[in-house]
């Protein structure tokens, strides 16, 4: 066997001569032209809507009557390992919230947030949820500081929406940064 | 038939008047006592074996002997006439029909312990009784049995009637003192016991009406005569108020130790409609109930305690076979819940919780595990309350559950009553 380790046989030679491997490869590639596409044309045309379990941008919820669920108990702030949440409570008798105590300030610094979701677990009134917004990149540090009013606004992906699908989307950019606006009516599954 | 002692004048016309009382040998004991040494009187009461008729059954003579002898310290006697235990009406009869017997007993007791002022704390609902007592005290003053230098001796005594405002807890002696002092009726911490620090911070004896009514007879007829009635350990006559499903409900004066069966079947005329007896409460609703097999228990302090229940106030409540025990227990508990003073946690919160569960069970909304929950709560409350109210309440419930567990379970499981069948 010694000295004979570079051993060509006819089959190999023929394969090389007729570019069999290449053709086989091209055939696979060619096949994919007709198979279902699995890449995501994000952000220009498509967007992945995550499942409900996803931990994205925080959202402050309201109850069915539209009252703020947050009572400003500061437990989220207490539970936050990176100390990125600031809550200042206040008394409010106008019926804005479910109790006479609401948050005067509710701020989160997303630059420090690690989306662990402990705040969500700590919330006694289910006011705080980690939502499904994940396009948080921006060009100004200030934009990473989210306030109560911004977080109270409904997120583009409704809570009832199950997620786990790709929807049609379009990319928009303005001075605040980039935004991919989903169109929930046109959905498809990834696999 | 036992010759009534305490109730002997009860049916005499105008029995509440001092003339009637005097005609029947009234105030002779007091006159006799005034000539005796106070220690002799206390020793006589001790020898007679008289035990408190309010429920606890503590030796009366011993209680009196705890009072300091120092004549410079003011002392008080309080008569506990706040008869609030459901089913009990013995003191009421004495107060309304023979108030002078009580006054004489109090006068002797005051003389023995050296009290110059005595109070009768009477249940507010006993309007007639309070009026008659006040009249009787006025009569006693006018005849010289009360007031200054009574009957030429240097003993002076004033008796005051204080009407309660409708709280069961005032039957507890320290709560009674608080109420008498004008404060919220909440039990006090013991020790110090009232014999050291009682009313207005002074040594005080608190006795039940029936107890005090026994005293003149002991003085008149001697300690050994008294001790010879009934069993040796708790002698004397006892008033039994029989109520419930019997043919002849009423107040019976019988020697201590009369068996329960005899009281119900001989004196009270047996169960109505000859139905079967289901349960009987032997001594007011805080006493756990007994069932038919216990009927031969002698009605005295020790025998009943041995059966896990108590003589209490001697109020015998008879329930026949048609009674729903769950409902009966709920009614009893609604009472305790309503009457809890709210001072200590287990009684205030525990009884509240128990009643909430009991209502559920009775109304056919019981859940699995409710019976265990009730027993757990009874355990949480028992022995941890400030005063005996909470203990009495859970003892009664425990007794009911232990004796009639299947009935409770039926309520929970079938959402309706086992006895009456009517699902509610």
């Amino acid at each position: 066997m010694n000295g004979n380790h570079y051993n060509l046989n006819l089959k190999d030679i023929l394969k090389k001569v007729f570019f069999v491997d290449l053709i086989q490869g091209l055939f696979i590639t060619f096949n994919y032209t007709f198979s279902k596409t699995i890449t995501l044309r994000y952000p220009d045309e498509e967007k992945w809507i995550p499942y409900r379990r996803f931990r994205g941008l925080h959202t402050l919820n309201r109850n069915k009557e539209g009252k703020e669920l947050c009572v400003g108990c500061e437990l989220c702030q207490k539970s936050c390992p990176t100390q990125c949440i600031t809550v200042v409570p206040m008394q409010d008798k106008t019926g804005k919230g479910i109790a006479d105590r609401i948050a005067y300030r509710w701020e989160i610094n997303l630059l420090r947030c690690m989306f662990c979701g402990l705040c969500e677990d700590a919330c006694p009134t289910e006011a705080l949820k980690l939502g499904r917004e994940y396009e948080l990149a921006n060009t100004s540090m200030q934009r990473s500081l989210w306030t109560k009013e911004e977080l109270l606004a409904a997120q583009e992906i409704p809570v009832e929406f199950d997620g786990g699908v790709i929807v049609r989307a379009r990319l928009e950019r303005d001075d605040k940064g980039l935004k991919v606006i989903p169109d929930m009516s046109v959905q498809k599954r990834w696999w | 038939m036992f010759e009534p002692i305490i109730l002997k004048n009860i049916n005499v016309p105008d029995s509440f008047k001092i003339e009637t009382y005097l005609n029947n040998g009234g105030y002779q004991a007091f006159k006799k006592a005034l000539k005796l040494n106070t220690d002799t009187i206390i020793q006589m009461v001790k020898d007679s074996g008289l035990r408190g008729r309010g429920g606890a059954g503590f030796s009366t003579g011993l209680k009196w002997s705890f009072i300091p002898k120092d004549p410079t310290i003011p002392k008080y006697l309080c008569c506990n006439a706040d008869e609030g235990e459901p089913g009990t009406y013995k003191d009421r009869a004495i107060i309304e029909k023979d108030p002078h017997q009580l006054i004489e007993g109090m006068a002797i007791a005051c003389y023995a312990i050296g009290a110059a002022n005595a109070y009768i704390y009477i249940r507010g609902e006993f309007a007639l009784g309070a009026d008659r007592l006040e009249d009787a005290i006025r009569e006693a003053y006018s005849k010289g049995y009360l007031g200054k230098n009574i009957l030429g001796s240097n003993f002076s005594l004033n008796i005051y009637v204080h009407r309660g405002a409708g709280a069961y807890i005032c039957g507890e002696e320290t709560a009674l003192l608080e109420s008498l002092e004008g404060r919220r009726a909440l039990p006090r911490i013991k020790p110090p016991f009232p014999a050291q620090v009682g009313l207005f911070g002074k040594p005080t004896v608190i006795n039940n009406v029936e107890t005090l009514a026994c005293v003149p007879h002991i003085i008149n007829r001697g300690a050994s005569w008294f001790a010879s009635i009934g069993p040796a350990k708790s002698p004397g006559p006892k008033l039994f108020g029989v109520s419930g499903h019997v043919n002849k409900p009423g107040l019976y004066e019988l020697p201590m130790g009369t068996p329960l069966r005899e009281i119900i079947y001989t004196y009270a005329g047996g169960i109505k409609g000859d139905r079967r007896l289901k349960a009987v409460i032997p001594g007011g609703v805080s006493a756990p109930m007994l069932i038919e097999k216990d009927l031969d228990t002698p009605m005295d302090f020790d025998s009943l305690a041995a059966k896990g229940t108590m003589l209490g106030s001697g109020a015998v409540v008879v329930m026949d076979e048609r009674t729903c025990i769950v409902k009966a227990a709920l009614i009893i508990h609604e009472f305790f819940h309503h009457e809890s003073c709210g001072k200590c946690t287990p009684c205030r919160e525990g009884l509240d919780w128990i009643v909430k569960v009991m209502r559920r069970v009775e109304h056919g909304e019981g859940k699995e595990g409710d019976i265990d929950l009730l027993l757990k709560l009874c355990g949480d409350v028992f022995g941890r309350t400030f005063c005996p109210l909470g203990d009495g309440a859970v003892m009664a419930l425990r007794g009911a559950i232990n004796n009639f567990k299947e009935e409770f379970e039926y309520h929970v499981k079938n959402k309706r009553c086992m006895v009456n069948g009517a699902g509610r």
Partner: protein
């Protein structure tokens, strides 16, 4: 001593020690809810139940004393399960609204539940609810009865310590709720001690409502600067904003108690009315300038003003720290070479000197607990319940379970009267005669033993006949006071600074004390001050005749009255006023205003633009009590640390820095870098302070020791006479004037202190406007009832005020607090005339149409 075994650990404790305390000593933690060390024992929560070997039932450890040989188990399974079930029962009806409850995070029930409680509960019923909306009980107290666990600590503290007795229980059983009987504003002290002792969030502070969580707050333990009691308090802030003041059970003489001023009077610190830059008068108005310009203006102004041999003077407040006061007197004496200094302007300077002498302040301080450990306590010259509420609370609490005769002599009815054995009502400014009368009775009864009594000849002027006239008190009351003193072994005489307001001849105090001492009694003298550092001011030598450390001297120095007098004659070139509003304080408002106009150069250093500051040529922004370091000496002589917590607002500076920089501007060697440097110097100059370690001062402070120097005692007495024939009777307007039937007296109101507290909006909410307090029968005679508007008219001034009724005050006297800017009570006064006489006109009689709207 009793030896007990707790969980197998043997421990020896005093007889009568509670099991709870013994177990704590042995290192075992027994939870409690209703127990409170300084309140009566209730034993109602049953959380502290323990097992005593040999006893069937579990016993509450908070009331059961140990007995020799007792074996206690605090951790047995039975105890643990009882504990946990008690907590479960407490929680059964307790709303679990911790997220919105202000107590969350510092709640005792929460803590106990986490530590000892069950982890779950089968309770599934509807919880008890008394109400949906919280009750507002007072401008500062808000209540949620749903959370109440019926521990009755609030009821007990209100009754036993505060003496207001406005809280109680309603209903019974499961419906029991702790509340007031009226569902509206309480007529109470608004002290908030019920909030402090509440173990749950049932009673809450309104100003602090929903402001923060306890873990967000940073705090500092400091001393209250409102009155002479010297309470320890903890100021707490979130992000530099002061949110609340609390008291701590283990700190200070006050423990958990504070009064309305201490607890709620902090909001002046963040008041927008504060001025925070130095200002110089330019063309009639004060204009902000930088510090260096202000200092230069001061230097130039002083040089200019002191030409022609004009005088300089300085008046500092008894609310400054020791360091500031020391520096102030050093600046005046050392740099400006004058003895014209004084603290405050309300009192006669000579009277202060006598007071310091007869009260033996130079002999060192005395703890209030020692002072109250006496058989007889005699309080005179102080509306102690209003001026020093915590001293009042202490007396009430300590006298509850002790045989102590409390005797109160005052013109006004006091809350403490309810705890007193005897209350005398006397004519204003008659304190000296009352003390003299008592001394006289004692002397007459023990003439043989008191042969050598100093000053006995002065007692001749007092007799059974003239006492009613002099004091409006009958001789028999004086005799019974003497009787109480003679039957006691230890006597404490507490004298308040109201004796300095009128010509009250406090010197007879000395004769009384001397007489009692000669009879072998233990006499303690306890001064009561309404200014937090009044004692410190004198100890630091802020008085023309007192040098630091009570070295008394007779000199040419002028006190505040002398300075103002001189100013009215145009003799004062420069006047430096620190923290004192003399225009509002000096007992002749019109005169002092005129006098200050004559001052060539007036420097005022304060934190608000006071009436005095408005007249100044230069105003300098000082710092509030949380913005500076220092020490305060309270009425006991207890030195306590003031701690800096936040930076002064704006350009404001700590007062000692300002004083030092003024000194440095004139005399460059006058340089101080820190408060501890100044304290070091004080230790050198004032021997009483030698033993005090500045850094080591903790919550209990340190009491100054007697120095053995100074003090004239008998000398003071020798120099005066109690009531000679030619006494200046005119001063007191002896003859009743039918035109003006009332004597007007003044002092601090319970909710205010000086003029500073008026800037605290919480306190202004409690009492927003000036009131006039009068006797009930006087009011009835005029048809005035509480809350009516009346006009008080003197010969120089009149004002319309709201009437308050005091049932126990003496007739013929009205009281107007000195705290209100809109009714400057000093305008009624005439210099040198004592208490003014006024008449009171019900407003309805002024307008024939009846009371108009408003």
């Amino acid at each position: 001593m009793a030896t007990v075994k707790i969980n197998g650990k043997e421990i020896t404790v005093e007889d009568g020690t509670l099991i709870l305390e013994a177990a704590k000593g042995a290192g075992f933690d027994i939870p409690t809810m209703c127990y409170h060390a300084r309140l009566s024992k209730l034993a109602s929560c049953r959380v502290c139940l323990v097992e005593i070997v040999g006893q069937k039932k579990l016993q509450p450890s908070c009331v059961t004393p140990v007995m020799h040989g007792m074996e206690v188990l605090t951790e047995s399974p039975v105890v643990k399960s009882a504990r946990s079930s008690m907590i479960e029962l407490l929680l059964a009806n307790h709303p679990l609204d911790c997220p919105v409850c202000d107590k969350g995070g510092e709640c005792e029930l929460q803590d106990v539940t986490f530590k000892f409680g069950p982890r779950n509960s089968p309770f599934g019923e509807r919880k008890r609810r008394f109400h949906e909306e919280d009750y507002i009980l007072s401008p500062v107290i808000i209540q949620n009865i749903n959370r109440c666990i019926q521990c009755k600590r609030c009821v007990r503290i209100c009754d036993e310590v505060v003496g207001a007795s406005v809280l109680g229980s309603i209903e019974r059983g499961a419906k029991t709720g702790e509340t007031s009987f009226v569902k509206e504003y309480l007529d109470c002290d608004h002290c908030g001690n019920c909030i402090e002792v509440c173990p749950v969030g049932s009673l809450m502070s309104r100003p602090y409502r929903y402001q923060s969580r306890p873990w967000d707050l940073k705090g500092v333990d400091t001393v209250c600067t409102y009155c002479g009691t010297g309470c320890q308090l903890t100021v707490q802030a979130r992000n530099g904003e002061i949110l609340r003041v609390i008291s701590k059970p283990d700190k200070g003489i006050n423990n958990e108690t504070l009064c309305a001023r201490g607890r709620f009077g902090y909001s002046f610190i963040n008041s927008h009315e504060r001025f925070v830059t130095p200002m110089i008068r330019k063309g009639g108005t004060l204009e902000p300038v930088p510090w260096n310009e202000a200092l230069k203006a001061i230097k130039d102004g002083l040089t200019e003003a002191m030409k022609d041999g004009r005088k300089t003077g300085g008046i500092a407040s008894g609310r400054l720290s020791n360091e500031e006061l020391y520096l102030f007197q050093k600046l005046m004496r050392g740099v400006f070479k004058t003895n014209n200094i004084d603290s405050g302007s309300r009192w006669n300077t000579g009277a202060v000197k006598s007071f310091a002498n007869v009260m033996e302040l130079n002999k060192g301080g005395i703890s209030v607990y020692d002072a109250l450990n006496a058989d007889t306590l005699f309080i005179i010259g102080s509306s102690i319940s209003d001026e020093n509420p915590i001293t009042d609370y202490l007396i009430r609490r300590l006298s509850r379970n002790k045989k102590m005769n409390i005797i109160i002599a005052s013109p006004r009815g006091l809350k403490l009267d309810s705890s007193a054995t005897l209350s005398l009502r006397h004519r204003p400014a008659a304190e000296g005669d009352i003390l003299g009368g008592i001394a006289k009775v004692i002397y007459d009864k023990n003439m043989d033993k008191l042969k050598d009594l100093t000053g006995k000849e002065h007692l001749k002027n007092i007799s059974r006949e003239n006492i009613p006239d002099l004091t409006w008190t009958d001789w028999s009351s004086i005799e019974s006071v003497s009787g109480f003193m003679l039957s006691a072994n230890s006597i404490t005489i507490a004298v308040g600074n109201d004796v300095l307001r009128g010509p009250s001849r406090i010197e007879s105090m000395h004769i009384l004390a001397e007489a009692l001492r000669l009879l072998g009694k233990d006499v303690k003298l306890f001064p009561v001050f309404d200014r937090a550092n009044q004692r410190g001011a004198w100890e630091m030598g802020v008085h023309p005749d007192i040098l630091p450390g009570y070295s008394f001297r007779d000199g040419d120095g002028l006190g505040s009255e002398g300075i103002i007098d001189a100013a009215s004659r145009g003799e004062v070139g420069a006047l430096y006023v620190v923290g004192e509003d003399i225009v509002s304080d000096f007992p002749d408002g019109g005169f002092v205003r005129e006098a200050l106009r004559q001052v060539k150069f007036l420097i005022v250093q304060d934190i608000f633009l006071t009436e005095t500051a408005k007249m100044a040529h230069v105003v300098l922004p000082g710092a509030s009590f949380v913005e500076k370091d220092g020490t305060f000496t309270n009425q006991e002589g207890r030195v306590q640390r003031l701690r800096k917590f936040i930076e002064p607002q704006g350009d404001a500076k700590a007062d000692w820095e300002i004083i030092a920089s003024i000194g440095e501007a004139v005399e460059p060697s006058f340089h101080y870098g820190s408060v501890s440097d100044i304290f070091k110097e004080i230790k050198g100059a004032v021997p009483m302070y030698r033993g005090i370690d500045f850094e080591g001062l903790d919550g209990n402070g340190a009491i100054v020791k007697g120095s053995g120097i100074g003090g004239q005692g008998a000398g003071v007495v020798a120099g005066f006479s109690l009531r000679p024939k030619s006494e200046v009777r005119s001063q007191e307007q002896e003859t009743p004037d039918p035109e003006y039937p009332f004597i007007l007296i003044t002092g601090n109101h319970l909710y205010h202190s000086g003029r500073l507290s008026l800037k605290a909006d919480t306190l202004r909410d409690i009492l927003p406007e000036a009131v006039v307090e009068m006797n009930e029968e006087d009011a009835k005679a005029m048809g005035v009832s509480k809350g009516d508007k009346v006009k008080v008219k003197g010969d120089r001034y009149e004002a319309t005020l709201t009437a308050h009724i005091n049932k126990r005050s003496v007739r013929g006297v009205v009281f107007i607090p000195e705290n209100f800017t809109d009714v400057p009570v000093n305008m009624f006064f005439t210099k040198g005339k004592g208490f003014p006489r006024v008449k009171v006109l019900p407003l309805s009689s002024l307008s024939p149409q009846g009371r108009g709207p408003g």
